[in-house]
């Protein structure tokens, strides 16, 4: 695998490893496309987050006038679609584009030019959607875009059309990227890298991208119907088409929440194992549960329609609650790993540890909303907002940050500041829980979603105020995060190839890796298990891992390694 693959004619012009804007923007190097994807998604994370903070300012007290009802709906639609379609999905898929070829010892990703096209389709989708948001009649039908509200009769103007087109483009882009990652892990593994030796993160990418290729086409069909309806009003007037849109939408819309979840389960698994100083526990059970989980999650979409009178509630309740079993097995792996571990409390590890109880809140309330008799009450209320912000923010985003602090040194060759990372962590834990716990009470007490203001009753003002203060903490945390990246890039502290004592192949190569991932100086090591670098250390064939230190201060010393 160390041999450099033959260059295509395209790659003679745009060469991996060369500096300069064209060599980045037209690159076929999966690492650069991965960094571009994650970077773009992070910029949009700040954009959609700023929109959320504006909404939280509006909601801090009843009857405020910071946003008009019209703008509120536009902001809310942009926040929801922007976070799901333009931020967390690309983060999930983009991390796979970057990491999977490295983790399997491959020199490149399959179909690199298609992956580049996928990235640019995603960017085109983002630009189109934000352009729509900036028009006076921006999209305001929520991120589901249910018909007939989103059709040209009830939502005239270019905003909703641009939203539909942007959604379509971005979903197509991530679909292509996901498909290529899946192909890569199935076909381009290094010798010795069998399927049952893949790191847990690579496995989460397999199940994620299986769901991407199974579910995203359904969204394309739904948005095609919506687009035709906008172009030719009256073509889809029967209620049949409303129900069809809802089913097509959720056939994408539910799997996509697992697309936005599994890769971060992978991040958490790798981080927990590394900083516990042991192999990930119950690997086989975890792999099996991921496959069962992904299969099952294709059959739960109707639980979004319990209150619609148009679906088989018993069936979808059954399938949805069934998912608690594979989810529980994943928790078995997480907990088993840390129980036997000698834990190093890095910023990355703190995010991974917080993921466990925080995502659990989202999972347990998920069982509640999977119960029709409870969902009849809490559906479309703040309770559901609380539930999915716990899964997506308190869960997925924390998993993302665990992975970000973990792999940033690998991708850039620069260490992030640990102390700032820990400050980011503490502020984000406070902010996240203060923001989203009140949602459960607000929804339980009868406050629906999608409202720009609320009555001065039922304790709503106090709960909303707590939530808005929490959002302020999130804003502060993200400022610290941005400053951390800025200062780390400004006064760089170079990263060694393996700053953490990692387990998988990406830690065997340099930081950042050479153009084709591994070279003569950094060959692909022998793979005998799902933790090949751990094996080498155990046999004394690699440099001693940081966790070999046995003094109580070793957590501190290992933190300082990158600061030398």
């Amino acid at each position: 695998m160390t041999a450099r693959p033959a260059l295509t004619r395209y790659e003679h012009r745009v060469q991996p490893g060369r500096d300069g804007l064209p060599h980045w923007l037209l690159t076929t190097d999966h690492k650069r496309i991965g960094i571009l994807t994650v970077g773009t998604a992070l910029v949009l994370f700040f954009f959609n987050g700023a929109i959320a903070l504006t909404m939280r300012a509006q909601l801090a007290q009843p009857g405020l006038d910071i946003l008009s009802p019209q703008s509120y709906l536009q902001f809310m639609t942009m926040h929801g679609t922007g976070m799901i379609v333009l931020t967390i999905t690309p983060l999930a898929v983009g991390m796979g584009v970057y990491l999977v070829p490295l983790q399997i010892g491959a020199p490149r990703i399959a179909a690199p030019r298609a992956v580049l096209l996928g990235y640019w389709l995603y960017v085109a989708g983002a630009i189109t959607m934000i352009w729509g948001f900036l028009t006076p009649e921006g999209a305001d039908s929520g991120w589901w875009g249910y018909t007939p509200l989103s059709n040209s009769v009830y939502s005239p103007g270019p905003g909703e059309s641009l939203w539909t087109a942007g959604f379509f483009l971005a979903a197509t882009g991530t679909l292509i990227m996901g498909g290529a990652t899946l192909w890569t892990v199935l076909r381009l593994r290094a010798p010795g890298m069998t399927m049952m030796r893949l790191p847990v993160f690579a496995w989460t990418q397999i199940v994620t991208n299986l769901m991407v290729i199974a579910a995203f086409p359904s969204l394309l069909a739904a948005e095609a119907i919506a687009a035709l309806d906008r172009a030719f009003p009256g073509s889809f007037d029967s209620n049949f088409w409303n129900i069809a849109y809802e089913n097509l939408f959720w056939f994408y819309g539910h799997p996509v929440v697992y697309v936005m979840f599994f890769p971060f389960v992978g991040c958490v698994a790798e981080v927990l194992a590394t900083f516990s100083g042991r192999r990930f526990f119950a690997y086989k059970g975890t792999v099996l549960s991921l496959l069962v989980f992904a299969t099952g999650s294709m059959a739960v979409w109707g639980h979004h329609l319990f209150a619609s009178g148009q679906t088989t509630n018993d069936y979808y309740s059954l399938t949805s609650i069934f998912l608690a079993i594979p989810a529980g097995i994943e928790y078995f792996g997480f907990l088993g790993t840390i129980v036997g571990g000698k834990i190093r409390y890095t910023a990355s590890m703190l995010f991974a540890l917080a993921f466990i109880p925080q995502f659990l809140v989202g999972g347990l309330t998920g069982i509640m909303v999977a119960t029709p008799s409870i969902d009849y009450q809490v559906n479309n209320s703040y309770f559901v907002l609380g539930h999915f912000h716990y899964t997506l923010f308190a869960g997925s985003i924390f998993g993302f940050f665990a992975g970000f602090y973990f792999w940033f040194p690998k991708a850039t060759g620069i260490m992030l500041r640990e102390r700032l990372g820990k400050l980011h962590f503490v502020l984000l834990v406070i902010g996240t829980n203060a923001t989203f716990i009140p949602f459960f009470f607000l929804g339980y007490n009868g406050l629906p979603r999608w409202v720009p203001t609320y009555p001065d009753a039922s304790g709503f003002p106090t709960l909303e105020l707590i939530s808005s203060i929490g959002a302020g903490f999130i804003g502060l945390a993200m400022t610290v995060f941005a400053y951390n990246i800025y200062i780390s890039a400004r006064l760089p502290r170079p990263a060694p190839p393996d700053p953490w004592g990692g387990h998988s192949l990406e830690w065997a190569t340099s930081s950042p890796p050479p153009p084709y991932n591994f070279d003569l100086a950094h060959p692909v090591p022998k793979v005998r298990s799902y933790a090949p670098l751990f094996d080498l250390r155990e046999q004394g064939l690699a440099q001693a891992a940081p966790q070999a230190a046995t003094t109580p201060q070793s957590a501190e010393t290992s933190d300082k390694r990158g600061e030398e």
Partner: protein, 217 residues
């Protein structure tokens, strides 16, 4: 009232399970942190155990048991709520529109509606202790008829009618609202449900030019 009692039974049940699970996970995490600290102090290496299949199978069995219990109680609760509908004493056509509600007592010349915005919130009057059927529909976009007191909501589709029956035993007045995004004034789409004695209900219907016979059955 079945909706309300089933909701509270299941919510209590699932909250209890949720707290227990959360507590167990939190305790396990705490144990992991304490054990790790002890390992570090005594200079011991991390455990080399890679799997514990018997433990995992036992865990899987317990997990499956809990999931099966949750499934059974979810399904039986839901089926308690939707029995073969008894013959309703009152049928009301509930129509959502941008942005208020219209309540039409079927077979009666009685219709209640309003503008919702700036007052004029319509009140649906119903007799206590009688089976009522609500036929929910819309004339424009999708709305949802949500009465938090009842612990129930139902989507209102255009070109389609969704029906449900219920019996409200207590007299009183409760606020309801639209629970489906439906455009600019979604947040002002309120309504009230007022439950009165059957006699008072008869009086109300007569005062609106209808017949009270609807509840005398």
């Amino acid at each position: 009232m079945t909706f309300r009692s089933v909701f509270h039974q299941l919510f209590t049940e699932e909250s209890t399970i949720a707290w227990v699970v959360f507590g167990l996970v939190a305790l396990t995490m705490l144990a992991a942190l304490v054990l790790s600290r002890r390992r570090r102090k005594r200079g011991r290496e991390p455990s080399k155990l890679m799997e514990a299949n018997k433990l995992e199978l036992g865990y899987l069995t317990v997990l499956t048991g809990v999931a099966a219990f949750l499934m059974v109680s979810s399904l039986s609760g839901n089926n308690k709520e939707l029995p073969d509908p008894p013959k309703p004493a009152v049928r009301v056509q509930v129509t959502g529109f941008q942005w208020c509600w219209r309540f039409h007592y079927e077979g009666q010349p009685v219709t209640i509606t309003g503008q919702c915005r700036g007052g004029g919130i319509p009140t649906l009057v119903l007799p206590a202790g009688k089976v009522v059927e609500l036929d929910v529909t819309s004339i424009d976009v999708i709305h949802a008829f949500w009465l938090p007191y009842l612990r129930f909501k139902m989507y209102a589709y255009p070109d389609h009618v969704n029906s449900f029956t219920t019996t409200l035993n207590q007299t009183g007045r409760w606020e309801g609202r639209c629970a489906q995004i439906c455009g600019l004034y979604h947040y002002e789409m309120y309504f009230y449900v007022q439950v009165v004695s059957p006699a008072a209900f008869g009086q109300f219907m007569r005062s609106r030019g209808g017949a009270a016979t609807a509840v005398s059955q």
